[in-house]
């Protein structure tokens, strides 16, 4: 029990540290939301009367004379109550509403893509590791090259070929803009159609990592004595590969997968930018470009909680799977 208490204590401290950083880091950025808003209105060619600055300060509530420390205390209080504040860039929408609108898109897209990439990587890695030394080994450099190519370039190439030249997929967006979002077949079908290419680019660019890790673990697992024993017993090859070698080799990858699930929430900023996907990554970019502290804090909070949560689950699971981690040396 002490083990779990210590773990929870650690995660609480980590959460507090992350919340504190979430508060201070955005404020180190140059600029402030009102001037950005004024500059944008002016750049667009609009007439911006100097008195508008005062009005926007009042409107966005950025004229507070509170000290940074007071702001920090009330920020912690608001976070505790789940009040994320009002977004400046999507004014006057509350941050929670903006995030709630964007999060499902990211969760579905990046979540499914991460899972597919993991599954493909593990399955391919198992075969490649089992048949090491054959032509299958060339899959390793081939997929690593795809991972090494800058992601945005790979994505743009696929867009050029699959969307522009062949017209198989839409160029951008999360769904057909003439549809109203809702739980109906037409809309879900449109969302799947629009999400396929972005998901494909994520899978292609990340499958190499899983494959390489799994393949290497397979190689070391197959040289273990128990595999030799299994072969000596005359078990079928496929049974040895799956039940003996792969089952042991997959453990580190499972831990890695659980952690990468935590990062699903943070989305893929570049993916969402390339495809103009309406997810959390594009909201984060929007927040940064507009000095929208409240939205940045909200997005960071969601990411932090997700990553910490995923780590906590892995930690607890490991304690179940492997009793050695429970006892201190």
């Amino acid at each position: 029990m002490r083990y779990y208490a210590r773990k929870f204590g650690f995660y609480l401290v980590a959460l507090w540290a992350a919340l504190t950083l979430n508060f201070f880091i955005p404020r180190l950025m140059p600029g402030n939301p009102v001037d950005i808003l004024m500059a944008k209105l002016a750049q667009r060619g609009g007439t911006v009367d100097p008195s508008a600055r005062r009005a926007y300060e009042l409107m966005l509530g950025t004229n507070s004379s509170e000290s940074l420390f007071q702001q920090y205390i009330s920020y912690l209080g608001n976070m505790f109550r789940g009040d994320l504040g009002i977004s400046v860039s999507a004014f006057p929408a509350p941050v929670s509403e903006v995030i709630a609108g964007a999060l499902p898109w990211t969760l579905m897209l990046v979540g499914i893509a991460t899972f597919l990439s993991f599954a493909f990587g593990i399955i391919l890695g198992t075969f490649v590791g089992w048949r090491r030394g054959t032509w299958l080994d060339s899959l390793v450099p081939a997929t690593t090259v795809l991972s090494a190519v800058p992601y945005f370039w790979l994505a743009l190439l696929l867009v050029a070929v699959l969307s522009s030249a062949w017209g198989w997929f839409p160029l951008q967006g999360g769904y057909d803009i003439l549809l109203s979002p809702g739980w109906n077949g037409e809309f879900i079908g449109s969302a799947i159609y629009y999400g396929t290419l972005p998901a494909l680019t994520i899978v292609i660019s990340s499958v190499g990592g899983w494959l390489l890790g799994m393949r290497n673990m397979m190689v070391s697992a197959t040289s273990e004595d128990y595999v030799l024993t299994a072969q000596a017993k005359g078990l079928r090859d496929s049974r040895i590969m799956i039940k003996y070698a792969a089952r042991n080799a997959v453990l580190p990858s499972v831990a890695g997968f659980a952690i990468s699930l935590g990062f699903v929430v943070s989305g893929a900023v570049i993916t969402e930018q390339v495809f103009s996907y309406p997810g959390i990554g594009s909201k984060l970019l929007q927040a940064v470009q507009n000095n929208d502290y409240a939205l940045m804090q909200g997005v960071f909070l969601v990411i932090t909680v997700a990553v910490l949560g995923a780590n906590l689950v892995v930690d607890l699971l490991y304690a179940v799977i492997d009793p050695r981690t429970r006892v201190s040396g």
């Binding site: 600029g31 100097p50 926007y56 370039w153 160029l171 951008q172 549809l179 309406p278």
Partner: protein, 562 residues
């Protein structure tokens, strides 16, 4: 009040060259759809990227739409041509002799979209609400309004306020008292079901598209454009693609190869209107804490004469820019107000090395061995800040660096993120930066002078100035600006001496070194609609983002063949 990102994206266009190349291919596939009769009268416009945040509040800086189309001002001031204001909800307006009282007569045949009658009470309520809620007072309104009877409103000001007229009459959108009196905080009210007097009403709102429909009971008659549909566009490249595919009917912003729009986009035409004065902003005032060689007027003068504006126009602006007056008035629009006392009518298009050299040497600069001037052992070197991704400005800066090198001035360009750049500009932490001077709500050089050259809009270095970023401060100019507020804008003879003072002082000091007058280019579907503004008939500024200008244009459009 929309599309905060539109202009910025227009500059990032070539920065995203990879995407551009890709998307160019896409245009080949974007087929045009069969046009039914309903589609013929539907104007399709590009909206901001991503999911729309519902907001039809005409006082909100993040409003999607409504200013001019759903909610109307009292008058329409055309800020690009020196013409009489066009009546909208108002019929006539009249100032008293000293400019402290404004009497407005209103139309009596106007109904709100929900059938209620529009009266002077609504106008008084709107003005009152702005006074009570400073957060929505984007125009700096400082009057007291009273409804005399159903069709007459009187606005009293504490001091002579002739110059506030265009803001009050032309930029405050009148809202219905019977709806808005229940809004606790009008600043944060998204007005999901807008009720206005305007030519259009909200028909349908979807996350990435919304539609306005013509108001059949509009006092000026139902507009010929039956529907206006805004669709979500992810940035400028997507907008240009949609234009190419004929999916949108109007967009403002540069497209590649501007001169050949009619050839490259069949059915479309382009119009380029000089509007904003592109200038090198200098932190010019040492008394307010500015540091660097640019605080010396001789250096600013040398830069002014060292530029080759013809070359800059060709290389950076596709020749869409035009000449600029050193007195900060617009050459064409303000031709009657441009001072005859200016030493130069326009900034020289060709470099004048002799004058640049003379200015520097008179100020004690000597030429060093590397061809760069120096004073007290310090070379004449300046940093010039530009926003990363603003490709036209970056090209201009690079070109200028080479041009000024020949005069003996070393410029180092520094590309910054938008946030960092606007922070440096506001606080005065810069030597030079490239930006533009924008115009006011009416065709009058008073406005940009009062915005950019008045001491009341500046601040010490380290504090935020808005928008007198050059920290220019001159008592004569301040006095002239104050005096102009008390002179009837119709009385040209009385105003001119003050305008002369302002323009000559600006020319003398050059706090914003004029480069060129930047052109704003809009492309529009001339095959589908007629009645677009042209250079000959500029009844409104033809930019998609112009508010309320866009509503004037949409009202004038007619489906082709009708």
């Amino acid at each position: 009040m929309m599309f905060l990102k539109a202009r910025r994206f227009s500059r990032t266009r070539t920065a995203a060259a990879g995407l551009a190349a890709v998307a160019m291919l896409a245009t080949a596939c974007g087929g045009s759809s069969a046009q039914s009769d309903a589609n013929k009268a539907t104007l399709v416009l590009p909206g901001p990227a991503g999911d729309f945040q519902i907001n039809f509040n005409p006082f909100s800086p993040t409003s999607l739409e409504g200013a001019g189309t759903i909610f109307e001002p009292l008058f329409f001031f055309n800020n690009i041509r020196d013409v009489e204001p066009r009546p909208r909800l108002g019929k006539t307006f009249k100032w008293n002799a000293d400019g402290t009282q404004l009497d407005i007569e209103l139309r009596d045949d106007v109904k709100w979209a929900d059938g209620e009658k529009f009266t002077a009470q609504d106008v008084a309520f709107t003005l009152d609400m702005i006074t009570k809620n400073q957060a929505i007072n984007g125009t700096g309104y400082k009057g007291t309004a009273t409804a005399v009877d159903d069709t007459h409103v009187t606005v009293k000001f504490a001091e002579p306020s002739y110059m506030d007229g265009p803001q009050v009459l032309g930029r405050i959108y009148i809202v219905p008292e019977h709806k808005w009196k229940d809004f606790g905080t009008p600043a944060t009210e998204p007005v999901k079901e807008p009720v206005g007097t305007g030519p259009f009403m909200l028909e349908e709102f979807k996350a990435q598209a919304f539609t306005l429909k013509a108001n059949p009971g509009y006092w000026g008659g139902e507009p010929a454009v039956k529907k206006v549909r805004y669709i979500s566009m992810s940035g400028n490249q997507a907008t240009v693609d949609a234009l190419k595919a004929g999916q949108i009917d109007w967009q403002t912003g540069p497209v590649p190869d501007i001169k050949n729009v009619e050839k490259n986009y069949p059915g479309y035409k382009a119009v380029t209107i000089p509007m904003n004065q592109v200038a090198l902003f200098t932190c010019s005032n040492a008394a307010l804490g500015c540091q660097g060689p640019q605080t010396d007027v001789a250096v600013r003068k040398a830069i002014y004469y060292g530029m080759n504006r013809t070359q800059l126009n060709a290389l950076a602006f596709e020749n869409t820019a035009s000449e600029i007056s050193p007195g900060a008035a617009l050459l064409e629009r303000d031709k009657d107000q441009i001072s005859g006392k200016l030493k130069e009518k326009t900034a020289p298009m060709q470099p004048d090395t002799a004058k640049a050299t003379q200015a520097l040497e008179a100020a004690g600069y000597t030429k060093g061995g590397d061809g760069i001037y120096q004073k007290d052992g310090k070379p004449l070197a300046l940093t010039l800040k530009v926003v990363a991704g603003w490709t036209d400005y970056i090209t201009a800066v690079d070109t200028m660096t080479q041009q000024l090198q020949q005069v003996g001035i070393k410029i180092t360009a520094q590309q910054l993120s938008w946030n960092e750049w606007s922070d440096a500009r506001g606080r005065g932490n810069y030597e030079l930066l490239i930006d533009s001077i924008y115009q006011g709500p009416a065709p009058d050089p008073f406005y940009n002078a009062s915005y950019f050259f008045s001491t009341s809009n500046t601040a010490k270095v380290g504090e935020t100035a808005q928008p007198n970023f050059a920290r220019f401060s001159n008592p004569d100019v301040d006095a002239a600006l104050a005096a102009l507020k008390g002179i009837d804008p119709e009385d040209d003879a009385a105003r001119q001496p003050y305008l002369d003072t302002i323009q000559t002082k600006i020319e003398e000091s050059i706090p914003y070194i004029p480069i060129l007058t930047g052109g704003t280019t809009s492309e529009y579907n001339a095959k589908k609609f007629t009645g677009w503004p042209t250079k000959e008939d500029l009844y409104a500024f033809p930019a998609l983002w112009g508010r309320p200008d866009a509503s004037e244009i949409i009202m004038k459009l007619k489906p082709a063949g009708q």
